[in-house]
């Protein structure tokens, strides 16, 4: 066999398939990847430092721009950390409403993931069109509840900025029924496509030991056969009262990562309906935003949340009126680091299907 010299290929920072501005330096031997080195920091704007100069409730708009496909999830994680620092418990109704909105956000985020994955594979633009059409329908629902299309900033200390509108529950149930029907259509369209299956099955395998060692979370971890979901392992809000199962696949390849997201979408739609049915009476509105919030009583609070891309942690060291230090554990960052392990030995063309299934958001990686 003739061995070719190792070639170094630069991908990005601006590339149609990088889901943002990541730079990958890829060493290839012929067509086989020898090494991938992700370079990050092209979107760094110092979120953690900026929050130190703001009062507690001035920071949520920054948190929302971390992961712009699931803004509410990060906003919720931050507000929960502040609530923990101030010893505030959200009302029972607020817990249910947050659960519903977060699950809707998860649906919207996974739809983007699957849509862009279809786009990355080259010839499946229909999948992109379908996914974004349905995402728009869910964003309409969120707009109805919060008043905004993408950045909601609707979490308040002890609740939300307003009650749900009167006909929201009915709209949500109709939409969820529609989405459940659509998920079946997606599966029949995507999984009957030979090209898609050839590029997904058995490509980019991450074994469960490696997944544990690399510290990946979320759908990427569950696709490698490890049953770990923050919603189940340390439940918050209404997740302890609602019945659901974390979705797990055993193979750890591209296809399982895609399939776990697909199954989670179905579960989310079901969870939204169940939460609406079980919603207690009462008020969901929290404290109005004022410059002075209640003083923080706990010096350190750590909050862990299952955001669509994995486990997000907020580590907050509190001054009375503003964060002294906020550290964010971003799931995207850890999942991106795993690419240099997963892509080793794969073909160069498969790099982008692997990148697509890891579903990384660069705004969250660079912070």
């Amino acid at each position: 066999m003739i061995r070719m010299a190792i070639t170094r290929i630069n991908v990005g920072p601006i590339h149609p398939s990088t889901h943002g501005v990541a730079r990958l330096v890829v060493d290839v031997d012929g067509d086989t990847i020898v090494n991938v080195e992700p370079h990050v920091g092209f979107l760094h704007r110092g979120v953690e430092k900026l929050t130190e100069t703001r009062m507690y409730m001035q920071a949520p708009p920054y948190m929302e721009k971390l992961d712009y496909f699931a803004p509410m999830a990060y906003n919720d994680a931050y507000v929960a950390a502040v609530e923990a620092a101030m010893d505030i418990q959200p009302s029972e109704k607020a817990k249910y409403v947050r659960t519903i909105l977060l699950e809707l956000q998860r649906l919207a985020s996974h739809l983007v993931s699957i849509g862009t994955l279809c786009n990355d594979l080259g010839q499946m633009f229909t999948g992109f069109m379908w996914a974004f059409k349905d995402r728009d329908i869910i964003l309409d629902l969120l707009q109805e509840a919060t008043g905004s299309r993408m950045f909601y900033v609707n979490m308040r200390l002890g609740g939300l900025h307003s009650e749900l509108p009167a006909d929201f529950e009915e709209h949500a149930i109709t939409t969820m029924n529609y989405i459940e029907k659509r998920i079946g259509e997606y599966e029949s369209y995507i999984e009957k496509n030979t090209v898609f299956m050839e590029r997904m099955k058995g490509v980019g395998v991450l074994s469960s030991e490696d997944a544990k060692a690399l510290g990946v979370t979320g759908p990427v971890l569950r696709a490698s056969g490890i049953n770990y979901d923050v919603r189940k392992n340390s439940p918050y809000y209404a997740y302890s009262k609602l019945y659901f199962n974390p979705k797990v696949m055993l193979q750890g390849d591209n296809f399982s990562r895609y399939k776990v997201r697909m199954m989670e979408m179905r579960e989310s739609a079901r969870l939204v309906k169940a939460a609406i049915k079980a919603m207690p009476d009462g008020a969901a509105t929290g404290m109005p935003v004022k410059l002075r919030s209640p003083n923080a009583v706990n010096k350190v609070s750590v909050v862990s949340r299952e955001v669509p891309r994995g486990e997000c942690m907020m580590y907050l060291v509190a001054d009375p009126q503003k964060p002294y230090r906020l550290s964010i554990r971003s799931p995207s960052m850890v999942n991106l680091a795993a690419i240099s392990h997963i892509a080793k030995g794969a073909r160069f063309a498969d790099l982008f299907s692997i990148f697509g299934t890891l579903d990384v958001v660069l705004g969250c990686v660079d912070r």
Binding site: I14, G20, L43, H44, R45, K49, Y68, W130, R149, G363
Partner: protein
């Protein structure tokens, strides 16, 4: 014997073609303006034309705006939505998002521009064919937005590039990009001075 002749003939044709190509490249390099893409450089001379020719050129430019597939941050999510089925930008002829800057004439700067991204954005802009236009989409590209006080952010892309249309919003709705492109069309067609 016969095969050798064919090969000779083919190689002769090949060398002729190669010489032709060399000549073309040499010609284009010899012209006063040395450009990486000589053909587009010559087409851009049409800007100096007048009368009916100018009208025809403006009309064709107005109706074939090709944006660059280039997203930076949150606003890029709305840019994707702009291309998808609800807004359906293709019905107005805007949607030919190209992966390479050499085929594009509109750059939609969607997101905050960090100091490490400035050389990349500038390079992309310089690679685009002339005449080229820039839309600053969203607060961050317009003025730095919420990151105004950050140590790593350009306070608006207009510090490095000449911007044609500004779009306000965080993020602006996809409909706003539609409006911005319609405004840009008026500018390209010479209806509005800008």
């Amino acid at each position: 014997m016969h095969m050798d002749e064919t090969v000779d003939q083919e190689s002769a044709e090949f060398s002729n073609a190669k010489q032709e190509m060399d000549r073309l490249v040499y010609d284009s390099l010899k012209s006063r303006e040395v450009k990486p893409n000589a053909m587009f450089a010559r087409l851009s001379d049409l800007t100096k034309s007048t009368g009916t020719v100018k009208k025809v050129v403006n009309w064709s430019r107005t109706n074939s705006l090709w944006p660059l597939q280039f997203g930076l941050a949150c606003c890029a999510a709305e840019l994707m939505d702009f291309g998808s089925s609800r807004i359906d930008a293709e019905r107005k002829g805007y949607l030919l998002f190209r992966g390479t800057p050499r085929q594009c004439d509109v750059m939609v700067v969607a997101g905050w521009v960090t100091k490490s991204m400035v050389p990349e954005v500038k390079r992309l802009y310089e690679q685009m064919s002339k005449p080229r236009y820039v839309i600053a989409y969203g607060e961050c590209a317009t003025c730095g937005g919420p990151w105004w006080e950050s140590y790593n952010i350009m306070q608006g892309i207009d510090q490095v590039l000449k911007v044609d249309v500004y779009v306000a919003g965080c993020p602006p709705r996809p409909e706003n990009l539609f409006a911005a492109l319609m405004k840009l069309q008026k500018k390209v067609g010479g209806v509005v001075e800008g």
